[in-house]
Symmetry: C2
Subunit: 261 residues, 2 copies
Amino acid sequence: MAGGNREPGRTVTSKVLAILEAFEQSRGALSLTDIAEGSGLPLSTTHRLVAELTDWGFLSRSATGRYQLGIRLWELAQNTGRQLRDAARPFVQDLFSLTGETAQLAVRAGHEVLYIERIYGTKRVPRASRVGGRLPMHATAVGKVILAFEEEWVRTAYLNRDLEQTTPHTHTNPRRLAEELEQIREQGYATTLEEVRLGSCSIAVPVFHTGRIGAGLGLVLASAQGASMTRHLPVLLGVSAQIERATVHIPLESLLGINRR
Amino acid sequence: MAGGNREPGRTVTSKVLAILEAFEQSRGALSLTDIAEGSGLPLSTTHRLVAELTDWGFLSRSATGRYQLGIRLWELAQNTGRQLRDAARPFVQDLFSLTGETAQLAVRAGHEVLYIERIYGTKRVPRASRVGGRLPMHATAVGKVILAFEEEWVRTAYLNRDLEQTTPHTHTNPRRLAEELEQIREQGYATTLEEVRLGSCSIAVPVFHTGRIGAGLGLVLASAQGASMTRHLPVLLGVSAQIERATVHIPLESLLGINRR
DNA sequence: CATTTGGTTTCCGCCCAGTGGAAGACAGTA
DNA sequence: TACTGTCTTCCACTGGGCGGAAACCAAATG
């Protein structure tokens, strides 16, 4: 029965996107079979769609026959939120040069922080986040500072969920977390100590845009320097103010391609 | 006649990708009608596909109802060539800090240079290139240096095409360009003087990988400093060597999602 | 308030692009 | 040679995609 056993209600578009997203979970290049499994599609269907995506440059095929996301996709995606990234990057770089520590800029995407910029030196640091990566908000300094200054309903909605325990030090008690956020709002910055990953701590300040919280700007340091983190506060606040000044003229809607719900 | 006048042979996939690519040409957010025009699709078809793309986060809709590329796309695309970018970025940053000039890293994509990294300060420079952007190879220093060290057949293929004249100073004579490339290969670096854009000049050195040319590393400066460009050569060569060392262990095929033809 | 203008959303029956099981080709490996 | 895992091609069936048309909506205009 050719074509009989098809899964109804599944659009072609959803299949194409599922194929692309299959590359997100597993690092490195995938074989056709991997893609078929990852996207939950029959092999022959996968084969056809993958071939077309490759023609368009959205996937590329290495010498070994395995596939990976193509440069065309990356090229296209550079247009997303370019204004914000272009405007903010030099300042994040300043932050890095002035402190010598890994500097990062993140925004809220749903219930997570999404890292959109990250400047680091050649020295090795235990890294949990990466550009384009997500982390739970309550475990990171940037996340906490965003949450603290976010609108009331966002905060309560967040605290009414199960809070993931990333390390033994992650704060997951909703009540105490609410208090911590209150305190962050008062003091104007947030910190974490080995809450995402053992061996590293972080500090972050808010970046506002048109009165609302727009992003979080932070530093990641080795745990050893956790005690003296706050000495970076003046620089952090200064750079944050500069980013705010550099982005005021950018209309909110073109800042990022995020569907605010 | 519903569904009668359809354009045959056009796959759904191609329509979806055409919609995404429609955002590349025109800056800023697009209305549904704009997208339909840009992708050459009927309005109702566009509407259906755009709606699904939006659901998946590949497009986002602003308060005004216009569409732009979604953060989901950007997020996915960060996985493309991450190894190369992550490894190279700190060194490009060094190049910037050491020289104070806009530093950039580019690779060849077909007959053009594709800028994959670009570090610049807050001072304004006339910029022609941008991360994710392309330029003709013969008009840029990074492009020329890549072309010069590229395999013979690539070079001859390139010179047998029409060479675009970007500014009055662009070298477009194939014969003379071949000589220039020869000289670049001997001296180990390439320069341009207002060949892409009036007011700026550039200098670049090759970055090799497994014996082949892998990328071009360069600086962009204001034309005024064109005469003394070569004083940056030692730094450029040093940083290039460091990038080579940092990327030797990366398998060629996972460097970038480029289909080498 | 009626009208025009410029855009977005919904509708619906036709029909071909998409489908996926199966078989064939291919490359390692035992 | 047989086996195994993977990729590629084939092909007849069929429902998801299609897109013209009409309804809808909002803002500008008379």
